[in-house]
Amino acid sequence: MDKRYAFSRIAAEVNAGAMTFPTSAGHAMKLRSELDNPNCQIETAARLIRAEPLLCARIVAMSNAIAFNHSGRNTSDVHTAITRLGFRTVRTLAVAHITRQLASGSGTPGCKAMAEQLWEHTAHVASLAHLIARRVTHVDPEAALFAGIVHAIGGFYLLSLAASAPGLLAGDRTDWLETGRSEVGRAVLGVLNAPANVLEAVEAYWEGYLTIPPRSLGDTLLLADELAPVASPFSLSGSLKPGEDGAPSLDMVIGKETLTAILEDSRSDVESLITGLMA
């Protein structure tokens, strides 16, 4: 199978409007569109969220994460959750739900396991990106969270196609990493109408050059990806865990601190975001 050709063809089909979303993502799509309307009422958003229990649970869980729950009191009320998070974060979580649901129907147990691992990786990257934006690069944390959520969306779409074309996932991943993920990802992000700054950040992530010290939203995303302790199932780095011989070691001075110290200091903050995204 000529995988590069196959990936280009998938991207072309998405660009031509052939991409379909699972029904479980339908409410999230509707919610996302509704939140694009500047006159959207909080009650309308709450009604759409309540109609999809999984999305509802995830939004409530996220509103209880340390980064958003400044009072320290947990809530189970959707209305309160929306107020805490704000429409922009709720919109991001709607896209997170769509992303996760994309591969929910993946056929074989192997594909299901890959989809689970890819979501776990995504949750780590998005949470770390939010932190790095706040503490290191000082770019928009909401945009960083969004970029983290969608950075591997091409992979989720590929997994959703795996049942009908299992050869796409077989063997070496080099073709996917070198050309496929950017071609397919770009096309899917176009369908999702991702903001220009997020598209630029994801393009920088595909390009792969991390500026040291990091500055941009793209650097924020790339650094989060490099620090994520759970590797993408499409990466080659899964074989080495932190602390093992030969495991990667990345650190840098950020002002008067080091990146390692900032990460250690913010561990519970990041963990609570991950828990919210994994709900």
Partner: protein, 196 residues
Amino acid sequence: MDLTALTTREIERMSRQIRPGEWAVEKERPISTLLGSCVAVCLYDTAVPIAGMNHFMLPRMRRPHPASRDILLAGEACMAALLEALLEQGASKSRLQAKAFGGGCVVDIALKETGSIGKLNTDFTREWLLRENIPLTASDFLGPWSRKVLLVPPSGAVYCKRQVSSMINAEVLQREEQVYTASLRSQQQGRTPSHG
């Protein structure tokens, strides 16, 4: 020229590329290198727009002494040559800072050996910088990647790309490093490495 406005592709295109065993010092032109288990150290002056990069490896020797001592000297020589070139061109040692990269394992089948070489190189780098009292402000070491490193001398900014190498590219890179290793082994008299 405002290099900060350029894309990394443009910076890479206009860069001066160094190979294993080489070093370069520049005031404006970017310097680049491609690393496997080798290490590249970038030294830059925080007050004067000048910076340099080297690319070296301390290959594991089968014979103990005196060959291993000579190889260690080759690493010392590569670092000392970079430092001297910077000082000659106006940098001040007290203002120098370092960013260092590499030590990756690029071919799975050789993971054990290249892994230990990578560790040897990164340990040497840390020790050398500590001994010379030059702060290491950033590092990206080890892991299963080759790396492309771009240094922009006026600012000391560095761009590092972890690369997933196809098997063919990884083997080409490994072959280049093996040629460098062989050349070091033949330089048992402790000759300094070449510079561009």
